[in-house]
């Protein structure tokens, strides 16, 4: 296994940067590009891409970190499952540090065995057998993560595994993008579209951005040359005045995505409304278990109340997710809110916008 260093090549990067600078100079105005995906946020900052771009080209982070867009009320319900319903909660690691509206988190139950961290959804099958009583998996994530989880629940049903439940906070990216661009305050000139999500959904679900809103969107990979290439693509479209959805990550993304992965999702899950942190309720932007799987749906089986979205006082995560403020503009950033003691979710996940901004700080100008 060798990293493909061609996508970290300094000469290639310098060539693209030069062209970005030329076009940005000719455009002669401020350009705001949203990178939707949390992995892009981290990679852009880790490679110091900001420092290579002209000052007029600004990158803003979008709602693409699964932990960050999960409302605090979802955590409150997860705690309710443990405390009031006597279940064991299984989750990906990042979720355990996310505070609920009262500042409590799942981490206080880590030692008790009532919260179990899994790295792969496949572990759920063994875990459900091992844990006495019900096990509820906190389903967070986007189109990237959802197919693997869906296939595990499909398999659990086939294998007759009992007392394994899904509490879904799944989100789908295109609906959130529509909500962002229909917001009158939206000041985004183009989208660096997520590479991993697009591997599954392909290009079609994004076409409305160009078609209805005249906004460029380019799917990019995660290496420096990939990301710079996608940024160049967006600027070229802005200069030409013709917007389209382009695939600048063809070595991983097919224009029609991965139909087999989508089929697994469609067999087990169905579109639902979802509450996003910062963005509120977005129609049809979530996925819940189909009727045939209703007996595995933790929200129904354990009669959980509706999820509310309420940020802790002073926390600007909601506005960060919408690209309306950058993390350093939040008064809590790096002071009261750090990865060791996070106030909001964007500081919790390693892919959270605030955590990435703090970890990969820019030199002060």
């Amino acid at each position: 296994m060798q990293p493909d260093l061609a996508f970290r090549d300094r000469e290639r990067a310098a060539g693209i940067v030069a062209r970005i600078r030329e076009i940005a100079g000719r455009l002669g105005r401020d350009i705001r590009i949203m990178e939707v995906c949390g992995t892009h946020t981290v990679s852009l900052r880790r490679h110091g891409i900001h420092s290579l771009l002209p000052r007029t080209v600004r990158l803003v982070s979008g709602p693409g970190c699964p932990v960050c867009v999960t409302p605090s009320g979802f955590v409150a319900n997860a705690l309710r499952l443990i405390e009031k319903r006597g279940v064991t909660v299984a989750t990906f690691g990042d979720m355990v540090k996310v505070p609920d509206p009262e500042g409590r988190s799942l981490s206080s139950y880590l030692g008790s065995g009532r919260v179990r961290i899994v790295y792969s959804p496949l572990e759920l099958l063994e875990l459900a057998e091992e844990v006495p009583g019900p096990t509820v998996f906190l389903g967070i994530g986007f189109e990237t993560t959802i197919p693997a989880i869906a296939s595990v629940f499909e398999r659990a049903r086939q294998q007759g595994i009992r007392e394994l439940y899904l509490y879904s906070a799944f989100k789908t990216v295109p609906r959130a993008l529509r909500a962002l661009v229909t917001d009158p305050e939206c000041a985004i000139d183009g989208f660096l579209l997520p590479g991993h999500v697009s591997v599954v959904i392909g290009l079609d679900p994004y076409r409305f951005l160009a078609g209805e809103f005249g906004l460029p969107g380019v799917v990019g990979g995660f290496e420096p040359v990939d990301m710079l290439g996608a940024i160049l693509g967006i600027l070229s479209q802005l200069e030409s005045g013709v917007s389209a959805i382009e695939n600048a990550y063809p070595r991983a993304v097919r224009d029609d995505g991965n139909p087999a992965a989508r089929a697994v999702v469609n067999r087990t899950l169905v579109e639902s409304d979802a509450v996003w942190r910062g963005l509120g309720r977005i129609d049809g932007s979530g996925l819940r278990l189909r009727e045939e799987y209703a007996d595995m749906d933790a929200g129904r089986v354990f009669s959980l109340p509706e999820v509310v979205d309420r940020d802790p006082p002073g926390c600007l995560c909601g506005r960060v997710i919408q690209g309306k403020v950058t993390p350093p503009e939040c008064p809590l950033f790096g002071r009261r809110c750090t990865p060791d003691r996070p106030v909001g979710p964007c500081m919790v996940s390693s892919e959270g916008t605030c955590a990435a901004y703090l970890k990969y700080r820019e030199e002060s100008a």
Partner: protein, 340 residues
């Protein structure tokens, strides 16, 4: 050890009674037989000359056996390396074992043989020890504490305080291997299973740098927190900054790939056989050559330099492979594989 292959450690092994004695006499002593200090006595006399350095470190690595090493080898080299980078030649070690009830006697025996061979490799004597047993569920299999004593041989000003603008920053070899090897073993990650821990004695590397007298400013082994933590420590609280270049950092391709997949930076991953040093720029290339004369220093390199305070006093600035610039901070939080 014969007849103990399938035995498990019990609470009675730590009781101080007959079974404790049997454990020490049959399992522990044989591993240290033939040294100048034949019995692991409660206390031992020895003679030292000049200034002495002392250190202690506790080892809790999970799992206790991992590709390229184990907790026994780590407990010897980790402590000896702390002495070596302080400018001392390690001489004596203590060995404290805290074993969880139910730990396999055969595994304990294997770890002790590993301690013994690592001590031989590091030319250090294990002169005293202690064994305790904690109830099942109250410990992580086995914990080891070692304290080390060494004789100081470097120039007295060896410290971060003597680092000056213009000095060169050196790294002795490929970074990130230990942390990836342990994480891959713990999480059973197939992607990282080819990576071996770099756990090794650093004394030979330190000795070759100590020879440069006060042209050597500062040395550290880049363990927890990785190279990033050491670089920050070197200039912390000073009116100087540091600039390093990603393309100069030695990283094995497999380690880089696994780190990329897990969303980790090799700069932040623990090492157990990597030395970071700051030397005067005048002797930097010579210092690299002398590091390269050692097997584990073959890929030693100058990776950066100390700059005046100016814009970024106390900050480590990285020039990324594609020419971007960002600050390398102290690592925060636990290194967990990302979730998507």
């Amino acid at each position: 050890m014969n007849g103990h292959e399938h035995d498990l450690i019990t609470l009675e092994h730590g009781s101080g009674g007959a079974l404790s004695r049997e454990l020490v006499e049959q399992i522990v002593y044989p591993c240290f037989h033939g040294e100048a200090y034949p019995e692991l006595a409660d206390s031992t006399r020895f003679t030292l000359t000049g200034t002495v350095c002392m250190t202690t470190d506790s080892y809790t690595v999970d799992p206790p056996f991992f590709p390229g090493g184990d907790i026994g080898r780590l407990a010897v080299h980790g402590t000896c390396n702390d002495l070596a980078v302080a400018g001392a030649v390690p001489r004596f070690l203590s060995l404290g074992l805290i074993v969880e009830e139910g730990f396999a006697v055969a595994d304990l025996s294997r770890l002790l043989r590993s301690v013994s061979s690592a001590a031989e490799e590091a030319d250090v004597a294990v002169v005293t020890g202690d064994t305790k047993v904690v109830p099942r569920g109250k410990g992580g299999g086995i914990y080891i504490n070692t304290a080390g004593i060494g004789e100081f041989r470097a120039h007295p000003a060896l410290s971060a305080a003597s680092i000056e603008e213009g000095d060169a920053v050196l790294v002795s070899g490929p970074i990130g291997a230990h942390g990836i090897a342990v994480m891959a073993a713990r999480e059973k990650l197939r992607v990282g299973s080819a990576v071996q821990s770099d756990c090794a004695p650093l004394l030979p590397l330190c000795t070759s740098l100590v020879a440069f007298g006060n042209e050597l400013r500062f040395m550290r082994d880049a363990t927890r927190g990785g190279v990033a933590a050491v670089l920050n420590e070197a200039i912390s609280g000073r009116e100087i900054g540091m600039e390093i270049a990603e393309e100069l950092l030695p990283v094995d391709a497999t380690v880089q790939s696994v780190a990329d997949i897990l969303g980790l930076s090799p700069l932040e991953i623990a090492n157990e056989g990597v030395l970071v040093a700051v030397v005067s720029n005048r002797i930097a290339q010579e210092a690299v050559s002398s590091l390269r004369a050692n097997a584990i220093g073959r890929r030693a390199a100058v990776v950066g330099r100390i700059v005046g305070g100016g814009g970024h006093s106390g900050s480590v600035v990285l020039e990324t492979a594609v020419g971007g610039r960002r600050i390398v901070d102290l690592p925060r939080g636990l290194l967990l594989p990302r979730i998507c």
